[in-house]
Amino acid sequence: MSDNKIIENIVNKEYTAGFESKVESDFFPSGINEDIIRLISNIKNEPDFLLNFRLNAYKKWITMKEPSWGNVNYNKINYNDIIYYSSPKVKKNVSSLEDVDPEILKTYEKLGIPLQEQKRLSGVAVDAVFDSVSVITTFKDDLLKYGIIFCSFTEAVSKYPDLIKKYIGKVVPYSDNYFSALNSSVFSDGSFCYIPKDVVCPVDLSTYFRINASRVGQFERTLIIADKNSSVTYLEGCTAPIRDENQLHAAVVEIVAHDNAKVKYSTVQNWYPGNKDGIGGIYNFVTKRGICLGKYSKIVWNQVEVGSAITWKYPSIILKGDNSIGEFYSISVTNNYQQADTGTKMIHVGKNTSSVIISKSISAGHSKSTYRGMVLVLSKAKNIKNYTKCDSLLFGNNSSTYTFPIIRAMNSSSNIEHEAVTSKISEDQLFYCLQRGLDEESSVCIIVNGFCKQVISELPMEFLMEAQRLLDLSLEGAIG
């Protein structure tokens, strides 16, 4: 069936049902099949190679089985209930902040988020006075003077198709896993970033500057390419709790670093974690991977994961170029009934490569936190070094924590060190703080901050203060 026919049918349906013309997303049928994928590609005006990419991914996806090895339990996802195309327009018709959940507003205040920003994040229609579009456009023009491309993925497909064609799916092939296959067939939008040779990006790029960043897509696709000798820091997410009707979020992030290039990717994630009894909440199943393609390249993953009902992700790095460096810093906080199965994979392929993994997890309430890490050294990866420290802190008697590292070395010149400690906050440490006049909550906060220090200190300045406040906030009620 041709695309035009499909649109015709839908439009006819609309009329027979008597709906008035509203936002596009209201009409898009749910479910996934080849026709819908063609429709998505058509609406976005994508070139053929991308349509083929999507279709191949879909064909692979239907042959795959949803993975069950994760240390997480969740209700079965009905893939036919999901609407796979999201319109760029405002989804929720919220006219003022009074219509927004007061809990969310309270959190915005505690995090010190300005009113205008609060409106934007809640999906309130932007005031005519506050024209964010012009601010954003001037910013992007400035970047272009350096040759830096930073725009939405959709825009990049139309303006820079060659770059997209060269790199998409090369770091995370669609066949990699169930969710990356799904994402590769129906991805909506995301970020695209290209830093040309010898350029150091003068500002930290953040999703705020993408138009409609507050409308977080369900199947985001991000591609960052750092050419020789370049460097960039990218910030994803924000500390405000984002509620979304869509439960499943399966994003894909690919990073490519050429010779001598450096990419730092920081994520602060505070998605809706579900209520105190574990009902609702977002499932965050992300595939993130970077490849240190060139010699002396470096990729750093930073994450502070505090939200989501279920977090299932392993930002990984393939250390292909000789002398490349991969680093992973992570704090994961789970409370109530949240579950996290997160960690990283460092795959050493090139010589003299090195990796550092620092993971701190805190579990409270009835939550479950799992660290899963892999350090794999291929036979030709001579003279490599790895240091891993993964520590867990437990609160209360109903939370549990699991540590499953895998260390596999296939040559005689690797130097690998791994350490992990699981404990609760010591009574002595707590009493020391109490005796100096700090109440229990403040004492726990500063001790936990000390516990996470190694990771927090690696975050970019913009996130540092927010992350600390977020950490304190998320521990509220965890004590006792």
Binding site: L394, F395, T403, R408, I416
Partner: protein, 425 residues
């Protein structure tokens, strides 16, 4: 290339038939065995499949009851046995108490199918909730026709170790044997047991199951030494139930087997019990070794340590899987797991999977793992003192592998003498 799925199904059927025909098996064992077999069919225990695909159980005869050749075991043994030592000889899974065994020792070693012993075995499995069961354990339950039972009476302290010398040899093409050992230490007793294995033929598959029960306040030191030159397949399991205030120390030195699987499961059922495990592996040529160590803290104030040191060279492969499991509501548990590996050649590989499964917050657990080559600083230091590089490396390896053995312990001498023999072959 053998048709692996054919052998797979053939072996399952063989086991199932035998299981039902063997009238010695109780109902519980049958249902557990069938559950396990079904799980294997569903590929849940993939790791053991290579055994299943390399062996045709039907073509394996049970090992003959006698050893036809004369073994000068005194020259083989890496330690001295005096006339007064407590020695139990095991020849192809038949047990003989040596003449030199002091008659004043109140130890019973009887056929394992005595009904009162059998009752204790069933109780053992019940007490740890059948978590000691795995595929090889069940195979051993089904097919084992003989074993050794040692009972140490309450308040009895034995100062000299009991040596169990196990020798295996066959003239047949493919044999399989299922030795079973059951050691029961009653309250307040103290004993040390040395379990020494020497398999002379490469046509023998050895599936050993050692079951240890430590009653309150008892102490046991258990040494396992596998000094076979070559063996087709060897699987040994050590399963320990610990009651209140008991102390279990084990040293395992495995030095053989083209394909070796080891399972150690420690269940700390009683408060304030302590366990320590020291595993040493030295693998060369094409050896492949797989260890699965699990310590379960099921009571308050329990302490466990596990140290694993492995060295791989030539084309060998070593996998160490170790977990500290702490049940919810367990208070004041301390656990430490350290695995260190030396990789000496680029064709060998090592895989370490140290795990922590913690369900209680009142714990202090740590694990560590390292992989490396010899420490160059130490080697350089030794060479500046006139020791050749080769010798320095040998000294370093010795230091590395024997790190957790007390120097004045007889076990240290045993390990050293075996290592020396290897280096100079």
């Amino acid at each position: 290339m053998r048709n692996t799925s054919f052998l797979f199904n053939k072996n399952f059927d063989y086991i199932k038939n035998n299981l039902l025909l063997n009238k010695k098996n109780k109902d519980m064992e049958i249902s557990n065995a069938i559950k396990y077999i079904d799980n294997y069919k569903k590929n849940i225990f993939k790791d053991d499949l290579s055994f299943f695909n390399d062996i045709d159980l039907e073509n394996f005869d049970l090992l003959e009851d006698y050893i036809s050749e004369k073994i000068d075991f005194k020259s083989i043994l890496p330690f001295d046995i005096s006339k007064n030592s407590n020695v139990i000889l095991c020849l192809n899974n038949n047990y003989y108490i040596y003449k030199g065994f002091s008659s004043s020792i109140k130890i019973n070693s009887i056929n394992i199918f005595n009904p009162s012993v059998f009752k204790k075995l069933l109780k053992f499995e019940e007490e740890n909730n059948y978590k000691c069961l795995n595929f090889f354990y069940i195979l051993n339950n089904i097919f084992s026709n003989n074993g050794l039972y040692i009972y140490i009476p309450p308040n009895f302290i034995l100062k000299e170790p009991i040596y169990i010398l196990n020798f295996f040899s066959t003239t047949k093409n493919n044999s399989i044997v299922y030795p079973k050992k059951f050691f029961y230490s009653d309250d307040n007793s103290e004993v040390s047991i040395v379990d020494y294995y020497f398999n002379k033929s490469s046509n023998i598959a050895n599936n050993i199951n050692t079951i240890i029960n430590l009653n309150t306040y008892s102490k046991m030191e258990y040494y396992y030494i596998n000094n076979s030159l070559l063996s087709a397949f060897s699987s040994y399991s050590i399963n320990v139930n610990q009651k209140k205030n008991s102390i279990f120390k084990s040293n395992v030195f495995s030095f053989a087997g083209i394909y070796n699987k080891n399972y150690v499961n420690i269940f700390m059922l009683g408060k304030k019990s302590e366990s320590s495990f020291n595993g040493i592996k030295y693998l060369n040529s094409k050896m492949s070794d797989y260890s699965d160590f699990n310590v379960n803290h099921l009571a308050d104030e329990t302490v466990s340590t596990c140290y694993f040191r492995g060295l791989v060279t030539d084309f060998s492969k070593c996998t160490f899987k170790g977990s500290i499991n702490i049940d919810s509501n367990v208070k004041h548990a301390l656990g430490e797991l350290k695995c260190n590996a030396l990789v000496m050649s680029d064709s060998s590989s090592v895989t370490l999977l140290p795990k922590l499964n913690i369900k209680s917050y009142d714990v202090n657990c740590m694990h560590g793992a390292t992989v490396g080559f010899v420490n160059e600083d130490i080697i350089k230091y030794m060479t500046t003192r006139g020791i050749s590089r080769e010798e320095s490396i040998i000294l370093f390896i010795n230091l590395f592998l024997c790190f957790y053995i007390e120097r004045n312990n007889f076990f240290y001498k045993i390990v050293r003498s075996i290592l020396i023999k290897t280096f100079f072959i």
